[in-house]
């Protein structure tokens, strides 16, 4: 059944304000939570944060009081939504456990987006980032067992495999090689734009998270691993935000942000098994519809365009969190050695790439160190290979141990 947020009633902005106790929701139970519920919480937090940061940027580019007022009002509501969503994460879930959740989002959200992306170049961009985040999950899983004595399976369960992807050490490209081509607002399938907003938000949140919590550890290995992977997240944000059409006006971007929030809450409400959390997604969907209406009023008045001129007639197929094991394995088998040169993808380990690698990896590589330390203590690296041996022979446990 199609759903068009433009034709739904939603909740008026005035009726969306919540009190402190309503914001301070009870967190989920870390022992009971469905891994994909955790993923939805993490993803929606990133999407709310992006909407807030975008709105702040917009606010700095106008002095029209009505526009600033609507932005401020909507932004405060987005902030309340962000608190509710992010406060679902319990305090007894360790930072590394949350990190494993972030990387599970990065794997299964990116894979789903790649699978449903109609533009071949954008699909390639998702695939490229996918196998890198997949590797981060493996590195953090090894750190997790080293520091906390638990296995990542307790977090991701058997929904996502844990094994090497494109080795993190090989992900450090020259910043110029992280720029990507962008979609075109005239011709793009609505899914491409929405997915690009979503992945940019998710990766930006991951980048910000690591930027802030990476220094909360005493252990030098943990601090250095977070620092290394945080730099890759900077690369990912650069590549994903590049996909958005910079020709879109501020108001068009605002409307697209609100529309995407409707899309994501709608998607997650449809899939959420936890009744209490589903109620939150549904409430937030109704709120987003109200915020979308406010944004479309600005679009009409200040951009001279009708929302029907820029939005699809209905939301696309809902985004789903689901296992993507075979898909990830296929991409790994074909693309583990891929890198980029400018906006293109190449198998060639070109000079600029090699120079960057030589510089940043000169004093040792934390993402390799964590595997070495794990092997030293446990005799092997930590993996969760539910579908058989690694699709790339040299990355199988025995060969990988010998080669490093």
């Amino acid at each position: 059944m199609s759903f068009d947020p433009l034709h739904e009633k939603g909740i008026a902005l005035d009726d969306q304000v919540r009190n402190w106790s309503e914001l301070n929701v009870a967190p989920y139970d870390r022992n009971e939570v469905d891994p994909y519920t955790r993923c939805r919480v993490i993803a929606m937090n990133g999407i709310e944060v992006e909407s807030i940061l975008f709105s702040h940027q917009f606010n700095r580019h106008t002095d029209v009081s009505e526009v600033k007022e609507v932005l401020a009002e909507s932004r405060a509501l987005e902030q309340q939504q962000q608190k509710v969503v992010n406060w679902l994460i319990p305090g007894d879930e360790s930072t590394l456990e949350v990190t494993l959740g972030y990387e599970q989002v990065a794997v299964d959200l990116t894979a789903w987006l790649a699978r449903s992306e109609p533009d071949p170049y954008l699909k390639q961009t998702y695939d490229f980032g996918l196998v890198e985040d997949f590797d981060h999950l493996y590195r953090y899983a090894n750190l997790y067992e080293l520091l906390e004595g638990r296995t990542a399976e307790g977090i991701v369960q058997q929904l996502t495999e844990v094994m090497p992807g494109r080795p993190t050490a090989n992900e450090h490209r020259h910043p110029r090689d992280n720029i990507r081509r962008h979609l075109d607002a005239h011709t793009t399938d609505p899914r491409s734009r929405l997915h690009a907003i979503t992945i940019t938000a998710a990766e930006q949140q991951t980048m910000n998270f690591y930027m802030n919590i990476g220094n909360r550890y005493m252990e030098p290995l943990a601090r250095s691993l977070y620092a290394e992977i945080a730099m890759v997240e900077e690369e990912h944000v650069t590549q994903y935000e590049s996909m958005l059409d910079p020709a879109e006006s501020w108001f068009e971007q605002l409307v697209q942000h609100e529309y995407n929030e409707c899309y994501m809450y709608y998607s997650f409400a449809a899939q959420e098994p936890d009744r209490r959390i589903r109620d939150i997604w549904e409430l937030h969907l109704a709120m987003e519809i109200g915020q979308l209406q406010a944004a479309t009023e600005l679009l009409k008045r200040y951009d001279g365009r009708e929302p029907e001129e820029i939005l699809p007639t209905a939301l696309p197929e809902p985004v789903r969190f689901e296992p993507n094991k075979e898909y990830v394995r296929d991409i790994l088998a074909d693309q583990v050695d891929l890198t980029s040169l400018g906006t293109g993808y190449v198998m060639d380990s070109h000079r600029r790439f090699q120079e960057r690698q030589a510089k940043v990896n000169a004093g040792g590589v934390p993402s390799e160190q964590v595997i070495d330390d794990h092997r030293q203590r446990f005799g092997t690296d930590y993996r969760l290979e539910t579908e058989g041996p690694h699709p790339v022979e040299r990355l199988r446990a025995e060969s990988y141990a010998r080669s490093t």
Partner: protein
């Protein structure tokens, strides 16, 4: 029905620039439109790109006029912007019919068209700094924005005339000339009106400061009333 925003639902296609990605199904290759207006002896792909830019400008001009109509404090200006919007809408139709009759696609967004749209988008966005202006100054700024856009329209018509003059005799040249006859009076009329209106306001305020003060007070009151009522959404 003329299209004001080119999008997938309207059948959009583009020739991607170096930083743009597009689905192969919607991609226009370098040499496509080689047959466009072939009997003119002009280079079809170049002509297609230029025509795409001309119609793109008129489409963006509709957006500009809509926002000016919604935001102008002077009721006379609001009403006039409404008329200009209708005439610009008709101009889109003329450009679209010309492109189609020459064998092109009015839903083609060329690199030149994207560049023109970028200029026009920034013209509309310049009005986002109107918080620094009193209502009268905003109305003048709006007129200047309209004048800039009307000047561009005039240039486009002038280029059309040049292309028609440079074309070999034949059906396509007749089509170019016919469109020119339809578009020229409107383009000239719009630019002239904007210039005359700006002149009139400037002289009136320079010579009659009392009139200016009365006008400012009236506009302030109107602006306040509209603000209390939540803005004039319908212009």
């Amino acid at each position: 029905m003329p299209v004001t925003v080119v999008r997938p639902e309207t059948g959009a296609v583009i020739r991607p620039g170096p930083m743009v990605t597009v689905s192969p199904l919607r991609e226009v290759a370098e040499d496509d439109y080689g047959d466009l207006a072939r009997d003119t002896g002009l280079h079809g792909p170049f002509l297609a790109d230029q025509l795409s830019a001309f119609v793109a400008h008129e489409r963006k001009r509709v957006s500009l006029l809509r926002t000016l109509r919604a935001r102008a404090d002077n009721p006379g200006l609001r009403s006039r912007y409404g008329e200009l919007e209708s005439e610009t809408f008709q101009a889109i139709g003329i450009w679209e019919r010309l492109i189609e009759s020459l064998g092109g696609n009015p839903q083609y967004a060329s690199p030149a068209g994207r560049a023109v749209e970028a200029l026009d988008t920034k013209t509309v966005e310049a009005l986002l700094l109107s918080g620094s202006a009193d209502p009268e100054t905003f109305d003048q700024t709006g007129l200047r924005a309209f004048a800039a856009a009307a000047t561009q329209s005039g240039l486009n018509v002038r280029l059309l005339a040049a292309l028609a003059r440079g074309a070999d005799k034949g059906t396509s040249r007749d089509l170019l000339e016919s469109a020119l006859r339809e578009l020229e009076p409107t383009a000239r009329g719009h630019a002239d009106w904007a210039g005359e209106k700006l002149e009139k306001i400037a002289i009136s305020h320079a010579k009659h400061p009392a009139v200016r003060k009365v006008a400012q007070a009236a506009e302030r009151m109107t602006a306040k009333a509209r603000s209390v009522l939540g803005g004039d959404r319908d212009g």
